[in-house]
Amino acid sequence: MELTVNGNQIQVPNTVKTVAGLLQHFKLHHKVVIVERNAEILEQAKHTETLIFDKDKIELVHFVGGG
């Protein structure tokens, strides 16, 4: 499956089916992450149920603490 993630075209395995799965794929599942799918922002509670499809445009922003 081809996705555009943060502006870059990438291939992810077809085993990645949901937003939560995608976060796991990027090892971001333990972090607080804001996800936008096709210009629509998703609440954290929706990550598990939201499916992703070929050619989706995804923006991922994770929170960090350093300063």
């Binding site: 804001i34 922002i41 923006e59 994770h62 960090v64 603490g65 350093g66 300063g67």
Partner: protein, 339 residues
């Protein structure tokens, strides 16, 4: 008139009118590390009226790679960052009023510090204090700018009470653990990029040009060449305990406050006494000199090194325990040497 702000005044969105507004504004900066020193220098050069800077730490060699106000001498002397920052900032622009505070900021301190403040800049290194800043910002209706960086990654978001979602809407929970400057390091271009995002927004707020605010959560990774900018307006929650209609400011209540903290980027635990106090460093110097270890003292703090740990005891009561990430081990050492 010596024209020191002429290039900024020539920039049409600021102009002489914006410059005059800037002159009457007061910004509070929480933290004088990488982000705090950079933002403070820009504000002072830009001709802000007043800045207040609060920081609990002192200058170390590992800071000099990116914390732009500090020198080798200050690392050698372990000068408190707020003191060192003020000295350099005064030399850069003597017209600006600079108020520095060597302190660990929590609810009580922040309530005092925000008096007559127009904008709060987050240059801290942990979410405990950010959630407190967030609640204080909502309570007093003062805008603040969340900013953070680690590795080559950075993030920033401008929070305007009554308009944008707040940090509690965005996070839902306080992030625990995660990467820190301690585990993955930090490069200064990431710091400077975050400062640029933060300061552009700060200038817009201070010259009252709210129409041009970014209104997006921005993040980037300079090494991986990523950039992301997303509108998070929809995340604003009507029932948010910090900014919603029935708000309770949960992070201002005592039960939510942390008295011990593991510091970012350091193998260090900080312990703050439950009551405000002033330590007698001279007596401590005498007492600890009799122990197995090395004692160094300046007017602000005392450092006591053993083979494995170093305790840095500040006059305001706080103790930094270097050489451990374990809060319980830190408490043991604290009680062992300080009663």
């Amino acid at each position: 008139m010596n024209g020191r702000y002429s290039r900024q005044e020539l920039f049409a969105p600021i102009g002489t009118e914006g410059q005059a507004k800037l002159r009457n504004k007061h910004v509070l900066i929480i933290g004088a590390g990488a982000l705090g020193t950079g933002s403070a220098e820009m504000l002072v050069r830009a001709g802000i009226g007043k800045i207040s800077i609060a920081d609990r730490d002192y200058v170390e060699w590992s800071n000099l790679q990116r914390q732009q106000l500090y020198t080798e001498e200050e690392a050698e002397q372990r000068t408190p960052k707020a003191i060192a920052a003020k000295k350099r900032l005064k030399a850069i622009n003597s017209e600006v009023e600079i108020s520095c505070h060597v302190m660990d900021v929590s609810v009580e301190e922040l309530e005092r510090l925000v008096e007559n403040v127009d904008l709060i800049l987050d240059a801290s290194d942990n979410f405990d204090i950010r959630m407190i800043i967030n609640d204080i910002s909502q309570k007093h209706r003062i805008p603040w700018i969340y900013s953070a960086c680690v590795g080559s990654y950075g993030i920033s978001y401008t929070i305007i009470p009554g308009e944008t979602p707040c940090l509690n809407c965005l996070l839902e929970n306080v992030p625990m653990g995660g990467v820190t400057c301690d585990t993955v390091g930090i490069i200064s271009p990431a710091v400077q990029m975050v400062i640029s995002f933060q300061m552009s927004e700060a200038l817009k707020i201070l010259v009252e040009d709210s129409l041009h605010l970014r209104n997006k959560l921005v993040s980037f990774d300079l090494w991986k060449n990523h950039h992301s900018s997303i509108n998070v307006d929809k995340i604003k929650k009507a029932d948010c305990p910090s900014c919603g209609t029935d708000r309770s400011y949960p992070y201002l209540s005592f039960s939510k406050q942390t008295k011990t903290a593991v510091l970012c980027g350091r193998d260090t635990v900080q312990i703050s006494p439950s009551q405000p106090m002033e330590r007698d460093l001279e007596s401590l110097d005498k007492a600890l000199s009799r122990q197995q270890g090395k004692v160094l003292r300046n007017p602000y703090l005392l450092s006591f090194s053993t083979a494995e740990h170093r305790l840095v005891i500040f006059k305001d009561g706080r103790v930094l325990i270097h050489g451990t990430k374990s809060i319980s081990e830190a408490k043991t050492l604290y009680h062992r040497y300080l009663g």
